[in-house]
Symmetry: D2
Subunit: 161 residues, 4 copies
């Protein structure tokens, strides 16, 4: 059994045709799992829908509490990319009895060329196969929470060393 | 470094607008990796483009040889779903020094609602994280080569036991 | 007010993941009009869901009756491309008090690269602007019913002269 | 022969994954016509790539000059929706020897659920069938330049009377 905790981020942004802005209205994770024809047992829980640049400490505590509280020991957290390593570090230091995988998208699922489906696939295997701990999976790579950063110039995640 | 061996299957089928049939013309794996913004190092090699119902023993030997011959010890094989377990078994019995992950799609990448991107994401983590051996990843689940079958009534992969 | 009569054809074909064949299960016209954000008043009526190669005289009579019976004098008929000119001719000779526009797709709406949305857009203007008579609109061109054929080698519609 | 003058607008916006903003990099009209399998003869000319809220009088004069200068008498102008009626009015008052059709999209072509393809289809028939003058086609309706406004609350075009 896998728990997916939704927190927002690029993945879930969609187009508001009235003002031309990208906004959150709801999560698309259920739609993604339908398209993926996912046969694994999953519970989806929306913790928040936030741009990760706007997350504050209280948000990270809220995510941490949701991870601790859920009965599953395999947890995927969808999250904005800009501060994903910060939240993964908060969780990595605090949670040692669950496998927690952070994942997001560089391009929203609502776009034709989104990487959301691929990244979520990466996270599904990671959460089932990796030992307990906190990880980030993005664009075909898997990172430990304490050895990853987002390179904003390149728009890519990379190891610190 | 990851080697992707392309063998065909539903994943790569596309529409022939002259006769209305689904056909193979080329693999879409490079397009998928571009959409996925994949940052892992990958070499793509097309071994064949076949519906797996039409694969014979010589085809499986050819796939086995390609796995043995390539320098990488992490190998993803894209494959039709109908006989994927048979080929995974041939490879599983013969190859013990590489991680080989078989993957495909229930709906071609050329369709709006394809599961190809998700499944390939699953395979990318699997091939990097799993110990040596032969595996199948489909629709969010990971299977050992000797404990998997395709349930054709449900259109799903499931463990034998 | 516009009536859309659905008769099947490539436009509405979708993928059956159990046997890998293209099949009809329902029309996608309502989905297309939602994506199109169509503000024109439309009534959709499914007359049949057939590959136009399998249409017989009785089918064309049934389509003709549906055109005659509906209260609207602007009628779009979605139709397979292979015998679209034959049906347009049956209607063109019999109906002189309505504008009837035949339209279809070279690639089903369920595919990423479908022309269905574009063609249906062409048909929407045609049915509102053209004088009474029977027409075909495909891939950016408008044809009179008595001066059109499908060039099957090129997969294009063209005038007879 | 049809001339398409590109001026920007929602239709051509795409996602910048480095900053999460919608931007112009190039027009997608050639891609749209490829997907549309358009068989009509077309010349595409990029006049500018602007959000129509940022257009000034000089921009509208530039569009007007491009319409006058091109050899074709059937001209499609892709344009942002917010000030499309203003530009259509400038052209409608000045150009009487060509058919000019303004068109855009409520959702960019780069999104899964874009109306761009449908609207462009509407414009293709309109420019070939309508008498000389200046028109707007959006979401299945055709408007004369002097009887149209954008209802920004509803995100729809509607007649003045």
């Amino acid at each position: 059994m896998i728990r997916i905790l939704v927190t927002g981020g690029t993945l879930d942004k969609e187009y508001n045709q009235l003002d031309g802005e990208l906004v959150f209205t709801k999560t698309h994770i259920a739609d993604i799992l339908t398209q993926a024809k996912c046969t694994a047992e999953v519970t989806i829980e929306t913790v928040m829908l936030k741009d990760s640049l706007h997350m504050v400490d209280a948000d990270r505590q809220s995510i941490l509490e949701s991870i601790r509280r859920c009965p599953e020991d395999k947890v995927i957290v969808t999250h904005g990319t800009d501060t994903m390593p910060e939240t993964a570090a908060v969780v990595g230091q605090a949670v040692t009895d669950k496998t927690v995988v952070f994942v997001g998208a560089m391009v929203p699922y609502s776009f034709v060329n989104s990487d959301a489906l691929f990244n979520l696939g990466c996270a599904f295997t990671a959460v089932q196969v990796l030992p307990r701990g906190s990880y980030i999976t993005m664009n075909g790579k898997v990172f430990q929470w304490d050895n990853v950063r987002k390179n904003r110039q390149k728009g890519e995640f990379e190891p610190l060393s």
